[in-house]
């Protein structure tokens, strides 16, 4: 970690030394305090989790090909969907954008050398690894079959060992998440460069900052919840388990006080990525900067007021139900503000359909559907019918996967050249975007229909049984829709594999990336590609991050470069501000 002389005396456009090759030993990676390397390590871990969770998802879809269930018995099916959910939520989506892209680019966008607490950053990564190991332990034991929500009394009565292992895993992952959030909040608060006022920050930082606030305020409650749950399962403390005089609805309050805001931990960074990418590929200043920035904070705060909408049919009292239902609609306001501002940014923009932009466009479409179907679920009357059906499954996959995952991929394609210094194949990238978009809709749109027909979620079969009668006509519809969904999942899987293949192939065969291939105006495009160990030799000067008129295409390099100083710099007022 000692800076080498080579690193200090670079200066050329292509420095010989960058953060990747400054020191190649394994120990230099394992004990690195460099936020970029920690971000890369997170990225690897997250990708493995995504693969694992995705394989479980494929297994679930294949199982549901047959009405009676094709692959597993009921118990195994419970474990498979639980692990799909738990891995995707705790190991993949929550850390996805903040811990990988955020870790890598937050200090660079601030023109800083590192995050405020580099050692805590590394600790956060290792806590993530430890938490993942606990999850694997739960997987290798008799298996976790509670669903990712761990509802009592089932979770306190089923096999104790995997529940304890998984809850400890969640506890540790929670700390990992808190450390990341704390680091980012402090870094943004105290390490902004001179001239970067709050309203000159890139919007990605605003969203990461809001995410940090949620991580700090909500995650500790999850920590104590799973701790008490583990105590309930092993010692029977009688707080959540009705058999011992406890209150299972109280568990749901505890759980959703974290887990509803956690939904915004997942989607807010994704929204930040979109706000960052859209103006670059539209070559136009972001529309309504302040509204997008403040709506992130508003979402973070309003997200704390609505957790009861997960409990409409869980014996929550009528009064609380009505209050939570009303409050739920308030979240639609800042979300709507964002979507309209993005659309207004695109209006009359000079849109470049790069791979990233294709993913951004899918995000806009899918997130809007996800958000609008949320209104059905927030309204009490419709939710009573739709609760715990495939409608809910489709809704949150449109938001979580169509929102968070797609934005994560868009961000990866956008920043891949900066992270690794290589360009990927645009053609195959766009093919992957198309396949993902088509496959996604094919998978999840039928599930809205399935849910409205009354197909409950988490069922291992739909051939009909006591308590769940299925008429012959309904069975035919269920079967058809489930099969469409399964085919769609396969297409989606192929699309994601192609995307991964395009990015990985670029590492080996990609041509060298220029400093600024897309013409972004945020600070990361002014540092070397890939960045040098300490990011910048001198603290860069800061301007409005969404003005593109100062950049021009440089055909020699294949990227953008600042216009020569002779050109008078247009002041921000003369820019089209939407």
């Amino acid at each position: 970690m000692i800076a080498t002389p080579a690193q200090l005396e670079h200066g050329s456009d292509a420095p010989a030394s960058n953060y990747l090759n400054v020191n190649k030993t394994i120990a230099s990676w394992a004990f690195t305090l460099d936020h970029k390397r920690i971000g890369i390590m997170y990225l690897v871990g997250i990708a493995v989790s995504l693969l694992l969770g995705g394989l479980f998802a494929m297994a679930v879809r294949l199982h549901l090909w047959m009405p009676e269930g094709a692959l597993f018995n009921e118990d195994t099916y419970n474990q498979v969907f639980t692990l799909h959910g738990a891995i995707m939520v705790f190991l993949f989506i929550i850390p996805s954008v903040p811990a990988s892209l955020g870790n890598f680019f937050l200090p660079i966008m601030l023109g800083a050398k590192d995050v405020a607490f580099p050692r805590m950053n590394l600790a956060s990564f290792y806590l993530w690894v430890l938490g993942a190991i606990f999850f694997l332990a739960a997987l290798l034991m008799t298996g976790l079959d509670t669903g990712w929500t761990f509802y009592t009394p089932y979770s306190s009565e089923t096999h104790t060992a995997p529940v304890v292992a998984a809850t400890m895993g969640v506890f540790i992952l929670g700390f990992s998440s808190i450390f990341t959030g704390l680091n980012f909040v402090v870094t943004v608060n105290t390490m902004r460069p001179p001239g970067m006022t709050w309203f000159k920050m890139p919007l990605f930082l605003w969203s990461i900052y809001s995410t940090g606030i949620i991580q700090l305020l909500a995650t500790p409650v999850l920590g104590i919840t799973v701790l008490l749950l583990a105590a309930e399962a092993t010692l029977h403390i009688g707080i959540f388990d009705p058999k011992y005089g406890g209150d299972p609805v109280l568990f749901q309050h505890f759980f959703w006080f974290y887990s509803h805001p956690a939904v915004y931990i997942m989607i807010l960074p994704a929204m930040g990525v979109i706000s960052e990418l859209l103006p670059v590929y539209c070559r136009k200043h972001i529309f309504g900067y302040k509204f997008i920035a403040l709506s992130s904070v508003a979402i973070a705060l309003l997200g704390f007021l609505v957790w009861g909408h997960h409990m409409f049919v869980s014996s929550q009292s009528a009064l609380a139900t009505v209050i939570f239902s009303g409050l739920t609609f308030s979240v639609a306001i800042p979300s709507g503000i964002k979507v309209f501002n993005w659309l207004a940014t695109m209006y009359k923009g000079n849109i470049y359909l790069t791979t990233s932009m294709c993913y951004v466009l899918s995000f806009l479409f899918l997130f809007t559907i996800g958000g609008l179907t949320g209104l059905h679920l927030g309204s009490l009357a419709t939710d009573i019918a739709l609760h715990d059906t495939y409608f809910v499954v489709a809704h949150f996959h449109y938001v979580m996967m169509g929102g968070a995952l797609i934005a994560f991929i868009a961000g990866l394609f956008h920043w891949w050249p900066k992270m690794f210094g290589v360009m990927y194949n645009e053609f195959w990238g766009r093919i992957s975007a198309l396949l993902v978009f088509v496959g996604f809709n094919l998978t999840f749109f039928p599930q809205f229909y399935l849910g409205s027909l009354g197909m409950p979620r988490r069922y291992a079969s739909y051939e009909g049984r006591e308590g769940f009668p299925v008429s012959a006509e309904l069975l035919e519809q269920f079967t058809r829709l489930h099969r469409v969904s399964t085919v769609g999942a396969m297409v989606l899987g192929v699309g994601l594999f192609i995307a991964a293949g395009v990015l990985l192939a670029a590492l080996f065969y990609g041509r060298k990336a220029p400093r600024n291939p897309w013409g972004g105006a945020t600070l990361e495009w002014t540092c070397a590609t890939p960045p040098i160990h300490h990011n910048f030799d001198e603290t860069p000067t800061v301007d409005d991050p969404y003005i593109y008129a100062n950049l021009e295409w440089d055909p020699d390099e294949g990227g953008f470069k600042p216009k020569p100083p002779s050109t008078p710099t247009p002041s921000p007022e003369h820019q089209p501000v939407g």
Partner: protein, 353 residues
């Protein structure tokens, strides 16, 4: 890390990390980070406060009844001990700010002794409750009117306290030997030894006090004590407790006493009727919450002791000075928060009626 790379550029303090522009920026960043961490701690405890509020609101009589088993004197003593430790931490920060090395060290060590006393008193409370069967819901074995003989527990605590004193003294000697060359190691051992001695003191004093109080109660006797008379019911309880008991008792003479004049209809039995047979074990929910809250709080005390060992060791090496005292202040903030939480736990658990 790359302090060397910048050493010639600026005149940085030796503990200033390379990615901060100034020492002041580093100080404020650390302080903000600690405050944010304290906010997460508040919310971490909020879950237990929530459980407390919900169950107390639903069953106030259970809490009133169950809280009678807690000893307000021990709780108040621990409150005062923690307040004193808060004072000394604040004073330690002041000493660090003014560069008073000896004042810093003595205040830090006084704080750790207080932490030790707190844990010693807690050990007395937990051990007695364990013996009486006043445990969390799933293990709640106390029956109304029973007066288990606590003599063996008092004896165990007595020897435990003496053992702790021995360990504390051994740690100080170890500090003299192992830390002969390194002032940091030496003082780390001293601080740890002082903490353990504090725990020994807390344990012994708490033990003597509770034994005296129990004796006092017996001599002023509302209850006629018949030690030889182990009833069949009592023996049953012995058997059950033996199965569960995990701590090594020096003596295995456990005699459950059933009071001959025990009132037939107690609060608990009334509750048994009201809550469909939930009765005798129901106060266990109070103790579940009691153990969860005080247990998690005690873990925070232990973590604080661990951090203070590191701080003392650094202080002894002269790392802290008026220009650089951040770690002392951050640890102090953490310690004050632990105190702050206890300020609420004490009346909520011990002073209900």
């Amino acid at each position: 890390m790359s302090a060397t790379a910048h050493a010639d550029e600026h005149q940085h303090h030796r503990f200033q990390a390379h990615h901060f522009e100034t020492a002041e920026q580093q100080f404020q960043a650390g302080k903000l980070g600690m405050w944010l961490f304290l906010a997460t701690e508040v919310l971490f405890f909020s879950g237990m406060f929530c459980a407390y509020a919900v169950f107390r609101a639903a069953h106030p009589e259970v809490f009133e009844k169950a809280a009678e088993f807690l000893n307000p004197t021990l709780g108040a003593a621990n409150t005062l001990v923690l307040l004193a430790s808060s004072l000394s931490v604040a004073w330690a920060v002041r000493c660090a700010q003014l560069g008073k090395q000896s004042g810093l060290l003595s205040n830090l060590i006084f704080t750790m002794v207080c932490a030790g006393i707190f844990m010693g008193v807690k050990a007395v409370e937990y051990s007695l409750k364990w013996k009486e069967g006043l445990l969390w819901r799933g293990k709640f074995t106390w029956t109304d009117g029973a007066h288990p003989d606590l003599t063996s527990t008092h004896e165990m605590l007595y020897s435990f306290g003496l053992t702790l004193a021995g360990i504390g003294a051994a740690l100080i000697v170890a500090g003299l030997i192992l830390g002969a060359k390194s002032v940091g190691t030496r003082w780390a051992f001293f601080a740890l030894g002082a903490t353990v001695l504090g725990a020994a003191g807390g344990c012994l004093i708490g033990n003597v006090y509770t034994a005296w109080e129990q004796h006092d109660e017996q001599t002023h006797g509302e209850h006629s004590e018949v030690f030889e008379d182990a009833h069949a019911l009592g023996l049953e309880e012995v058997a059950e407790e033996e199965v569960h008991a995990e701590e090594a008792e020096s003596e295995d003479v456990v005699e459950g006493q059933t009071d001959a004049e025990a009132p037939a209809a107690t609060v608990v039995q009334e509750m048994a009727a009201e809550y469909g047979g939930e009765g005798p074990k129901f106060p266990g929910v109070f103790f579940s919450i009691y153990y969860a809250m005080t247990g998690v709080h005690a873990i925070h005390i232990l973590a604080g002791i661990g951090v203070f060992v590191w701080i003392v060791s650094r202080a002894a090496r002269g790392h802290f000075e008026p220009n650089y005292y951040g770690p002392v202040e951050y640890t102090g903030l953490y310690w004050h928060l632990v105190d702050l939480i206890w300020i609420y736990l004490f009346p909520l658990l011990y002073l209900i009626r």
